[in-house]
């Protein structure tokens, strides 16, 4: 790898730990420009956001008439999905909450889910992923040396949600993704989780048992079958309000006795290990940087506060050691094997078969198709 001099964006906190980062003459990075031009326009807060959201909510209610549920919400116990659950009820929707148990739930995650669904009276569905298959696939990803080892959880989560939507004829999936807090994520830090070919090729090389029940989906499902045949729609509702993570947390704590779990996505014990230890240690990627940068560009955090938070180490040694032994034990390997996996030289997704080029083209076609269909109306 060629080394480049260290540089940090003068506006957010992204730096050259993203190997593909580009700066303009004022030292502002491509992520900031991208946010300003492509993502910020999708953020409609205030009264305009409320009006736009109201129109969509009316449509969801209309289309869900006579059905047991009019929408699906994913629920992980984290702040975004918990807050969405609350807001969806407030808007008078009738959601089915779906939880995907990949075997890595923390106690905090399950108790947060319990608090939210019981206080709001939401019906819950859980899909439990077969742990032996999950373990095998997760281990295959770790052994492959690619950066995005959270592909198994991310991929199957989407598969479960859409398959359940199809089975129950529920059109709308309401997601907690939002541009206020997660707009920035360098592509170099991890390959997409939608590529089943990539998932399977890594599993074929490093896995040891067949994936018989593990829910997956194809590119065809994702780009064509779900959106155009099943006409599933995703609503990222938090983009329509002035969503602030800190105040959402505070609200959930006061209203539901919800508990904070520290870092982003730490409701999964694997994701905690993966983001706070594995990525920084093996690749030098510190996901906190992207999360904090997202908060800075959306104006929820000052650059100074983000920088001082980044001064803290991404993990605490004692906690990391405990996480490592738990992860090793769960995966059925000894600690030294996990250590050698971490020490092995990093690979990229390009070292394995994938549909990267096809995905690029398909997503462009899908966007074009969606635009055409919109202008038809």
């Amino acid at each position: 790898m060629k080394t480049r001099p260290y540089q940090i964006c003068t506006h957010c906190v992204m730096d050259t730990s993203d190997p593909e980062i580009v700066f303009d003459s004022a030292g502002v990075c491509n992520h900031c420009h991208d946010f300003e031009h492509h993502q910020k326009p999708q953020l409609i807060g205030g009264s305009a956001g409320a009006v736009a959201l109201d129109a969509i909510v009316t449509q969801i209610k209309e289309q869900g008439k006579g059905q047991e549920y009019d929408c699906i919400i994913g629920i992980s116990g984290g702040v975004d999905s918990s807050y969405v659950a609350y807001r969806v009820l407030e808007l008078g929707l009738r959601p089915l909450a779906v939880h995907v148990d990949t075997g890595w739930n923390s106690e905090l995650a399950v108790s947060n889910i319990e608090k939210i669904v019981s206080a709001l009276g939401i019906d819950l569905h859980t899909t439990v992923i077969d742990w032996e298959e999950m373990r095998d696939l997760q281990l295959a990803f770790l052994r492959s040396g690619v950066a995005n080892c959270d592909v198994p959880q991310d991929h199957t989560f989407v598969a479960v949600l859409f398959k359940l939507a199809a089975r129950k004829s529920i059109r709308w999936i309401i997601s907690g993704h939002n541009l206020q807090t997660e707009s920035i994520l360098p592509e170099a830090w991890g390959y997409t989780s939608i590529d089943r070919k990539h998932l399977r090729s890594i599993h074929n090389l490093y896995g040891s048992r067949p994936l018989r029940t593990f829910p997956t989906y194809s590119l065809f499902d994702y780009t064509f079958y779900w959106p155009f045949v099943k006409r599933n729609k995703i609503l990222k509702m938090l983009n329509f309000e002035d969503y602030n993570k800190q105040s959402a947390k505070q609200f959930l704590i006061e209203r539901f006795g919800w508990r904070d779990y520290g870092g982003k996505h730490y409701e999964s014990r694997f994701t905690k290990f993966f983001q706070s230890y594995y990525l920084p240690k093996k690749f030098g990627f510190d996901k906190r940087r992207a999360h904090l940068a997202s908060l800075v560009v959306s104006g929820q955090l000052s650059r100074e506060a983000a920088l001082s938070e980044l001064e803290l180490p991404p993990y605490n040694e004692a906690e990391a050691a405990e996480d490592c032994s738990f992860v090793a034990k769960k995966l059925g390997i000894n600690k030294s094997e996990l250590e050698s996996i971490i020490a092995a030289s990093p690979k990229t997704y390009r070292d394995y078969p994938s549909n990267a080029d096809l995905i690029d083209r398909l997503l462009r076609v899908k966007a074009k198709l969606a635009r055409l269909l919109r202008s038809d109306k």
Binding site: G103, S106, V110, S111, S118, L124, W131, K330
Partner: protein, 264 residues
Amino acid sequence: MPSDSFNPFRVIPVLLLEEGRLVKTIRFSKPSYVGDLINSVRIFNEKEVDELAILDIGASKRGLSPNFDLIKDVTNECFMPLAYGGGISDANQVRKLVEMGVEKVIINSAAMARPALVSEAAKEVGSQSVVVSIDIKKTLFGGYQARSVSGTKKVAAASLQALVKDFVEAGAGEILLNNIDRDGTLLGYDHALLKQVCTVASVPVISCGGAADVADLGKAVAQSGASACAAGALFTFRGPHRAVLLSYPKPAEVNEALRTSSIP
């Protein structure tokens, strides 16, 4: 006045294993997969449960010994008292389990076939560590029939009460009364059955099978004479879709349930 920071009686989640997989049954059949054992143990650990029971429901049926490797993994992870049952057929296994950190061994099929095993086990590790599980099924005529080998085999006994007395005499420190007809149904404990057994047992009786809610646990202790309450489905599932979500009541709820049930 009992303190609301502790449960007034033991509340015991029950985890069922079949071929190393965590399952939950309905009436001892239709096992459905409910997730990973180690993670579930970890979650109950953090919920600070009074005691955890793990029953390997496939072991005796298949003539297997306890899976000691798996149990070792659990005892390493488990800070709460652990009771283990499934495939135990001799006193050596009992001693080995206790040495591994299992607090109590639960014996069913082998004790029904050879009651002397109970006294041998008690001699080895002490009565306080020996639990005899009695699985009960209602007969066509409304009586109660003890069964073994995962409910498949009828146990010959003069009566259920006589059976209980015999096991207590042999050295059982506790009786786990497991109701096959209610298992996994969330319909509530069979309190009539529970009373019958509790009146003759001079050792603690743990009620198991059918717990509907926390109030039902309180009732089992306050009105039916149980010393402790065990439940599987109640702490595993949530709501109309039987969504897997492990839970455990707060001591305040359990105390409240006991108080409410104690009012004459």
